[in-house]
Amino acid sequence: MEIIRPRLTDHHGIHKSQADLDFAIQFFDEDLPLYVDPFLLWKSPSQQDNALHTTIINSFNHLNYLIKKKREDEAVSLLVDISECHEVGLGVSQTRRGTKISKKQAKDILNLFQDIPEYSQFGFTHFEIIQLYISGISKDRISDIACNYLKSFLIDYTIGQCEIHNIPIEGVILDSIYNYKTNKLDINQKVYLPVNPKTKEPIIFTPKRWLRFNTWINYEDYFQKYCPRDEIFNPNEPEERVKVLNFNRENYGVVEGYIEYKTKTIEDCKNDPLFSQIPILSARRKLNQILKLNTGKENGADIKYEELSASLLASLFYPHLDFAQTQSRTESGRHIRDLIFYNNRDIDFLDEIFTEYNNRQLVIEMKNVKEISRDHINQLNRYMQDNIGNFGVFLTRNPLSKAMYENTINLWSSQRKCIIAITDEDLKLMVEVYESKQRTPIEVLKKKYIEFRRACPS
């Protein structure tokens, strides 16, 4: 069986968790739901980041120069070409392939330089505000345009990271790279980058510190917090976006005020982590909900059990185990759900299950049953092979019966396969240590494993 939902690092056998790396680890099959926010570059204490922000802004304002020189067609085609950057793998696309903006949209954007005298004269200082003027432009476009302007830098960054972490790179041809000196796109450039092993498409990394779920300056935020709605809409009128955009175009001062307001609250602008743990209160609440659930399938108890445990365990095991996904599989007519984690080998216990049991991933099978039966153990046993490894975990309600415990010990003795069960009691202890911060919850898993090994014949 292949690794489930592989990432670049897992594919190349680099056992680092997301928390340890400077860049966002990409999935091969889909985008990360995060965006490069130019505001974070501007805000950054690093002079390099600030300079890169200046690069973006200068390059964008160069479009204004082109318009003034009556080279509008050139500006339009440049803007269309840089409106999509699929190599960075950010956004919400399932296929890692987005579409470019239309010529009409590009013209709309460029018209801002003509319609609003301030931009015509001084240019933009934060180009993300085009979201407040043009419909159909949102965070993913802003992010893609920024990435395209910085592509040359990002390529160097990617190569640097690949050298640090021994990620293989190979020669690829990129359609275009923005050239800051000529303000044009260099077409068909050969560079060395890591590639997606399936599609052979190049991959470009982005630093984690630049990523947010939404840009700091964005339409929704503007509409909620700053937009003078009373002035735009008559009472009882539907609140249409187009009206707001038109209003903005005629009221440069309001938008400028919004930028000022966002700049004042700059301290709150932080990059979003790729995964954030649930708060302690919520962990406790989830645990209580799990403990209250009945065993079995009545009233969808099994589904609830799976949902609650999935989010709880993903948080408890972070940052030692990165959550891969929950996976459904059907075996003998039964619906089984697994929790799958990437094994980063960053503590001795995880390293041991990698070296002794070949676990490149850790599978936790969730069973909301009163008692684990021989069938359940056989199922998990059949599942444990190849990349999944010979170490498996049951998440279940009650401790294994004596006979079943014997069964798992025999399995270890004969095939060196290790099955341990985490029960309600263990979950309680995990939440307890998560709350008190005295130990890490993953140590409870280790404890169960050590107990199991002590029971095994030496």
């Binding site: 307890e432 240590v433 008190s436 005295q438 140590e443 409870v444 404890k447 107990e451």
Partner: protein
């Protein structure tokens, strides 16, 4: 005749050093255990406790009670109440040790040392 019997100078000295620390530690854990008996004990606390207990065990090495006394295993993720219970046993053994080797004997009042 008194029930006292001999011990060594070294053990007596070790006793004098460790007993106040052990008692202080026991009291602290007892307090913690009243609030949250099922809380897990941090690794650093376990390390400190084991360091002290290691020394205490040298005092008790010839005592019959030693077979009931263990060091704390950090892999077991012990709870505060577990540690309190263990410490109480150590304190009890140490008291018994003093009863057996301290008092008035022919040479005067103090540790019975050969």
């Amino acid at each position: 005749m008194s029930k006292l019997y001999y011990t060594t100078e070294e053990k007596a000295q070790n006793y004098d050093t460790t007993m106040p620390l052990l008692e202080a530690m026991y009291i602290e854990f007892k307090e913690l255990s009243k609030k949250k008996p099922d809380a897990a004990v941090s690794k650093s606390k376990i390390k400190m406790t084991n360091r002290l207990l290691g020394k205490v065990r040298t005092v008790l090495e010839d005592e019959s009670s030693l077979e009931f006394l263990d060091l704390i295993d950090e892999d077991d993720v012990p709870q505060v109440s577990d540690v309190t219970l263990m410490l109480s046993q150590y304190v009890a053994s140490m008291k018994k040790f003093k009863n057996s080797h301290y008092g008035s004997y022919s040479g005067g009042y103090g540790w019975v040392i050969r």
